[in-house]
Symmetry: C2
DNA sequence: TTTGACATTATCACCCATGTGAAGGTTTGA
DNA sequence: TCAAACCTTCACATGGGTGATAATGTCAAA
């Protein structure tokens, strides 16, 4: 498919799709006329890229990780690369840390919201105002 | 305490501490000589700022959220602000989404790492090489 | 009490990452 | 033929820092 269709199907502006290509995250083939030709699988790939960027993973890392993020559990690896392994372990652990921090703070936010609602309800019930 | 000590105790360069002040995240008082004077509680606060920034939360949002992130469960709110509530709910939900994405991808990474190790072990066991 | 090392101050400018806007040119397809 | 889709390229925006300079403050040893 061409860039416009991919853009429509992923919700990602064409401008950004070209940018991701520049960053080495996707590598569409070219038609004779110079137009980019995107394979079907790139729809999911682009969505995954957006998710990861939204979660704060930089493009450089995404580029290294993408080939390892297929959801199949029966991945077969021909030549295990120790350097790649180290990078993946590092990223996995960083992700775990982020998850911990986010959970912690989300829960704190949630408690605060509940407290706000409690206060609101108390006001509505005619409790003595603390303003 | 002065900026150098806070820097030592948090591991955050003085340059950054001044930057966070500029961004409105911390507001140390000043001594007569112009030096910044940091209260003890800012040690935790600066650590929390670092955590949140590392997790991809922008300073603007951190500034709004910080007062709501105390870990005490018995927070009392005098005048519940609906706008603030909306912002907090939005951020809480964004955090939940991020957590989901990060968990998903961390698990995928983890599976890949396990697969690599399995491949490595097979090689060591003298399995037929696929190189 | 002065000297010298070290901490702090402010300010200006610069870097990288992630986008975004706009100009100017080519290709497609009704 | 003409609009819409595509192409490249250059430039700008924002966020989060970082480096360098020059001036002042502190403190201890000579």
């Amino acid at each position: 498919m061409r860039i416009g269709e991919l853009s429509r199907r992923t919700g990602v502006p064409t401008r950004m799709l070209r940018y991701y290509e520049e960053q080495g995250l996707i590598a569409p083939r070219r038609r004779e006329n110079g137009y980019r030709e995107y394979g079907e699988y790139l729809v999911d790939r682009v969505r995954k890229i957006r998710e990861l960027l939204d979660s704060g993973i930089p493009t450089r890392i995404i580029g290294d990780m993408l080939p390892c993020l297929d959801d199949t559990s029966d991945t077969v690896i021909a030549e295990p690369d120790p350097e790649l392994r180290a990078l993946l372990v590092e990223q996995r652990d960083k992700m775990s840390e982020r998850i911990t921090v986010l959970e912690h703070n989300r829960d704190a936010l949630d408690r605060y919201i509940v407290a706000m609602d409690r206060a609101e309800r108390d006001v509505a019930d005619g409790a003595v105002s603390t303003v």
